[in-house]
């Protein structure tokens, strides 16, 4: 059943039960929940872009300051929360803050849902205590790397985060620890890659995603992602030139921290970390004028 319908039904039930609407449970407090559906733009995950989109404009981020808490939706103070936060709230309300804080590490309390994808035997969503080692997530819950292969690399926090290597498997799943390892926990999407993965191809797909999702507002992101996507295409399909990895790094310098919102910055993190760890693979693509992993592709399972 489509999620919008589920949510709409839930809202109707809540309204009928008097949990939302006028005079909630006789408390004299009015609150209503309105379901507003977006229409397909990753950039609307940025809080100001979300507000702009809610106002009916193109979902382009706004200048900060003023921050949404000061001047947000329709110019009024606005709090923007994501689903993860809201989903955690009922449990904290029910069990108390101490129960929640008892879990996890001193710097990262509670639990978090990790969405594991890629080359593991059991991909899916896993809610784990903060601080659980990544090894446990991949090898116990995820059932290890598929087809008995070994791990090449993984991306711990979603499409934009820097790549980590098998040596980082014992890092705990919490924000500080992952940051110390050189990446970020981000959205909690764990992408696992086995030894046969072409890391250039993965970066290419991610950069194409950012190119597609760039709103086009600021120059570095609009032109930079387009250019990077072209470069990755070229390298992956055997037309790369010797200077291309350095060109990518230099473009990363010109985009990261310069774009209007973090989407542009984020588009460069994975490619740059990949060039750092796997520069030889880039060179191989360029020298051999082909992707060295193409032959080992899986057919439809």
């Amino acid at each position: 059943m489509p999620q919008t319908e589920l949510l709409e039904t839930a809202l109707e039930e809540a309204r009928a039960a008097g949990y939302i609407g006028r005079n909630v449970l006789g408390s004299g407090f009015d609150v209503d929940v309105l379901l507003h559906r977006g229409a397909g733009a990753y950039i609307c995950g940025e809080e100001t872009a979300l507000l702009t989109s809610l106002e009916g404009y193109r979902g382009e981020p706004r200048l900060k300051p003023p921050f949404p808490a000061v001047k947000g939706l329709y110019g009024k103070p606005t709090v923007v929360n994501n689903v993860e936060t809201l989903a955690t709230l009922p449990h904290i309300v029910r069990n108390g803050p101490d129960w929640f804080a008892a879990m996890g590490t001193p710097t990262g309390k509670g639990t978090r849902v990790w969405c594991m994808s890629g080359h593991v035997n059991r991909p899916g969503n896993y809610e784990l205590e903060m601080g659980t080692p990544i090894r446990e997530l991949i090898y116990e819950h995820g059932g290890g790397i598929w087809k008995g292969r070994s791990l090449k690399a993984f991306q711990p926090g979603g499409a934009s985060m820097m790549v980590l290597l098998p040596e980082h498997l014992d890092v705990g799943l919490d924000f500080d620890a992952i940051a110390k390892a050189g990446s970020m926990a981000g959205a909690g999407a764990m992408m696992v890659m086995d030894e046969t993965t072409c890391i250039v191809d993965v970066a290419r797909r991610l950069v194409k995603f950012f190119e597609h999702e760039s709103c086009g507002k600021c120059t570095p992101c609009r032109e930079g992602t387009y250019w990077m996507a072209n470069l990755f295409d070229r390298i992956e399909f055997g037309e790369g030139k010797p200077g291309d990895p350095d060109l990518l790094l230099d473009m990363g310098y010109n985009i990261d921290g310069r774009s209007f919102c973090p989407l542009g910055d984020a588009s460069t993190w994975f490619p740059r970390s990949v060039i750092k760890y796997f520069r030889d693979e880039f060179e191989q693509h360029i020298v051999e004028k082909a992707c060295p992993f193409r032959g080992e592709r899986e057919a439809v399972a």
Binding site: A39, G40, Y57, C115, G118, M191, E298
Partner: protein
Amino acid sequence: MSLRKETVAMIREYARRYPSAQSAIIPALWAVQHEQGYVTAESLAEIATHLELPPSLIESTSSFYSMFLTRPEGRHDVVICVNAPCGLRGADEVLAYCERTLGIRAGQTTQDGAITLRSTPECLGACGGAPMMQVDHRFEENLTSERIDAVFERLRTEPAPHEVVKPKAVAPVKGEKARSGVEGARPRARRTQK
């Protein structure tokens, strides 16, 4: 004026629901797409009249989001995610298989008008079930050739979703997750092809 009375009433209602009529643009676009299956320039102009906004604004907003189709396509919309997690689990091969089976390229519609096939770099949000495809806003996950065949078999006879579901009063429209924003869905060929 080609929109149905119910749709117009919905658009008017949306305009009242928000502090500014502008906010009703996206719900109104959904309502139109839900009625017709796509949003033409004509409908954009009509939305503009009902919301009392300049039409350029409606086009500006609608073209920004990738889920609004601008021209009639096949009855069913099949989108294959080729972003990294799906790519790792064989999305390219799935796409190639679909193209082979349907005898069309991504971005085209089958001859009988049943299926429009697309691929998108935009994550459709089912990385755990990769490789996946989205059929009329519903997910088909963990694809195999047998599953794909079965889905296509079903789609060849089913009517288009917007022909089945009538718009409810003021309810958000049906649909599960993104229609994709692939190249083919962008309005009008303004760019001169090289």
